[in-house]
Assembly symmetry: C2
């Protein structure tokens, strides 16, 4: 019987930190972020790129709506949008139909860069998944999606 067997009947599973999904998710996220930041094509963080790409996809929308579409709470999306506005990548105008809202859209310069930003994002994904074979990449993304879509 393997000394690392964690399925022995009647015995409690051993807690090995390096085998826990939360710990491994943190490591994988760290590696992805490092790959992203080491590819200096744009002065963007992964989160900022996600916001820009989503805004390009869905078009003009409110700040909270963009937050929901990118899985950022209201406090986080505010900071992200503030920094994107400061860089001139996103512009705003008041919503004429709802005085609570500010509508966000990409600046013309950003609009023109969208294709390059997409290409950059694909490169990052390829580098991140490089340790896996093509079949493994497909499987991994499918399972990761199952873990993310719940709730």
């Amino acid at each position: 019987m393997n000394q690392n067997d964690d399925t022995t009947v009647g015995e409690r599973a051993a807690y090995v930190l390096d085998d826990q999904v939360g710990f491994l998710l943190r490591l994988a996220s760290q590696r992805h972020t490092a790959i992203f930041q080491d590819s200096p094509a744009f002065d963007l963080t992964p989160t900022q790129l996600a916001a820009i790409v989503r805004l390009a996809q869905i078009g003009e929308c409110s700040q909270n709506e963009l937050g929901r579409q990118t899985a950022m709470d209201v406090a986080t999306i505010k900071g992200v949008v503030d920094r994107l506005r400061q860089k001139g990548l996103v512009v705003t105008r008041p919503d004429p139909l709802d005085r609570r809202r500010t509508l966000l859209s990409l600046s013309p310069g950003t609009e023109a860069m969208i294709a390059d930003i997409h290409e950059f994002g694909l490169q990052i994904s390829r580098k991140t998944l490089a340790p896996l074979t093509a079949a493994e990449r497909t499987t991994f993304l499918r399972l990761l999606r199952k873990l993310s879509e719940v709730g």
Copy 2:
């Protein structure tokens, strides 16, 4: 031909944010953290639990060493250790052999809780992986480890 086909010869792969590994890793991490925080067994964050479990595993060590063993840079591990000391979970003493170092160890009370902390960690991992079948869980952890272990 499928309209979402991203492998058509001669065409550039489409950039779909929801299919990018970085975005999905962020979603999965968010879900894991939410599961963790909604299980109020201990007043700990995932990072703090990792530090405690690792310290229990490797025994008394320096702050930077614990950081390396838990994938936290020197600034991050400092904050984590400060908070664990403030809660009385970790105690320190100067290293008699190296005046730069402070040696960390678990407080006796924490030592006594380690088995419960392990059990709690296993519950969190089970809940996080619940959307997958047993076979999928094994595969997912194997691939996630491959993505994390790369230098």
